[in-house]
């Protein structure tokens, strides 16, 4: 029987992190930002059916970048956890913080105990009753949770997109402006992303029970023209 080679834990973790980062960097990025009436989530996504952004619960949205099958599995687990909690207790007991922690557990466990880390970065966003209660939890491939404010960027080329967004972001702007900011930040160089390649969804602070909705292609085109 052959003995496995010894690999230092530091090296093992570094290799896994590099592997996950590489996988995530291959995919396209996503931006979430506050606007005057809620939170806008904008992703570069050529597919009109395989979504990166989706609804988890009344006031909570999910967004993922990286490997589709992996973040989609996490999305479904989140919908299940949220619906079960709301059924067992009250709809008001479902919150983004709880979900973010559970996601962090799964990602962290997988990162340290499985052969292969999940090649995903996810966002759990919750729209509050007022803007100060909005929450953006950015969860990394290794389970690190970052509680972000005003806006967040996920995915490949994160640093340069964040750099561009910091320059142009204006708090309390309209939805149209917010989508424009995100579009500009996501576009690399002089070639802006076509509006057909954008997926945009919003969590609107509108008093209705379900705050999540998607913007259709014509609205996005109109916003960007």
């Amino acid at each position: 029987m052959s003995m496995p080679f010894y690999v230092a834990p530091e090296q093992m973790m570094k290799d896994r992190a590099d592997y996950a980062r590489k996988g995530i960097a291959r995919g396209r990025a996503l931006v979430a930002l506050q606007y005057n009436d809620g939170i806008a989530l904008v992703a570069e996504n050529p597919s009109n059916t395989l979504r990166k952004i989706s609804e988890i619960y009344d006031r909570i949205a999910f967004a993922g970048v990286g490997k589709y099958n992996e973040f989609d599995q996490l999305r479904v687990a989140g919908v299940r956890a949220a619906d079960l909690k709301g059924y067992q207790f009250s709809r008001l007991d479902v919150d983004a913080r709880g979900l973010a922690n559970q996601y962090a557990q799964i990602l962290g466990q997988t990162f340290t105990h499985e052969m292969k880390p999940l090649e995903v970065e996810i966002l759990v966003a919750e729209v509050g009753l007022d803007a100060t209660k909005d929450q953006l939890f950015h969860i990394m491939y290794d389970g690190t949770v970052i509680d972000e404010h005003r806006f967040t960027v996920l995915g490949g080329d994160m640093e340069s997109i964040r750099g561009r967004l910091v320059e142009i972001f204006v708090p309390d702007s309209t939805l149209q402006d917010a989508v424009k900011f995100a579009h500009q930040a996501l576009s690399v160089g002089d070639t802006p992303i076509s509006s057909t390649e954008l997926e945009v969804a919003v969590l609107v602070r509108n008093g209705a029970r379900r705050c999540f909705s998607r913007l259709n292609e014509s609205t996005i085109t109109q916003f960007l023209s």
Partner: protein
């Protein structure tokens, strides 16, 4: 977070998910006895030219006693459909809650809504899973109605306690006052009514049922409690305001005085 191996994955079914995590309210053996639980009664639904109208009275009874005066038996299931329930109030309300959750859960997991027919079928399975309890007296008999966005007209379904699902084309009534309410509908309903005419007819049907059946509640002007009446059209589910129903019932009462 609930995650399952591939073979045990519950898919988009909330009911199956509840079973996997041990929370399912169905199939429990309730001891057979003469337990007196609140019962909800008469509901009607009818088809109009551009949608459907659903209505239900507000009374729940335990034997001869009125146990609740403000029960809402017509509830919105999703944007384009509603459920009306008659039968044992506890299981009925639980079934409606589960049904609403199932529709929303499916929509979120799958990324698109069930068709209206799919929802009707799903409700039939819920009624069937309640059969053991129905055998012991906790019967639940719903009506399901909605606007079919694919076919672009309203549709209605009637159920029996075993989960039998029957699509009705014109109108349907359920609960203890179903004979009286159904007779009013049978005599007055005509094709291509407007929603307003439909609301008036549903109000009238419940009035006559409450007049002849002790378990059906009439309009309660003293407390300001009126039946729940809702219309479902291509615009979605709209509950008719109590103000409007107050006028409708005053007109019915005037008509009755003059006959």
């Amino acid at each position: 977070m609930p995650m399952f191996p591939f073979a045990q994955d519950p898919g988009a079914s909330f009911g199956e998910l509840l079973k996997r995590v041990g929370l399912s309210p169905f199939g429990e053996n309730i001891p057979a006895n003469e337990m007196l639980v609140p019962h909800a009664t008469t509901c009607v639904a009818l088809r109009c030219a551009n949608g459907v109208v659903m209505a239900g009275d507000r009374r729940a009874t335990s034997g001869n006693l009125i146990s609740h005066r403000e029960m809402e038996k017509v509830v919105q299931a999703d944007q384009f459909s509603g459920v009306a329930i008659a039968g044992a109030a506890g299981p009925a309300m639980e079934m409606v809650k589960l049904f609403q959750l199932q529709i929303e859960h499916y929509e979120k997991v799958e990324g698109q809504s069930l068709t209206l027919e799919g929802k009707a079928n799903q409700l039939s399975m819920f009624v069937r899973s309640n059969l053991p309890a129905a055998m012991q007296g906790f019967m639940v008999v719903p009506i399901f109605a909605g606007y079919d966005t694919l076919l672009q007209h309203g549709r209605l379904w009637n159920y029996d306690a075993t989960g039998g699902r029957y699509e009705e084309h014109d109108f349907v009534a359920t609960g203890s006052g179903m004979l009286h309410a159904g007779t009013v509908l049978r005599m007055t309903w005509k094709r291509d009514m407007t929603i307003d005419e439909g609301v008036n007819l549903a109000a009238r049907a419940l009035w006559e049922a409450s007049d002849a059946d002790s378990a059906t509640g009439g309009p309660d002007a003293l407390r300001g409690i009126y039946p729940v009446i809702a219309s479902i059209t291509s615009e979605g589910f709209t509950r008719i305001a109590d103000e409007q129903l107050k006028k409708t019932y005053e007109a019915i009462a005037d008509g009755v005085v003059q006959r």
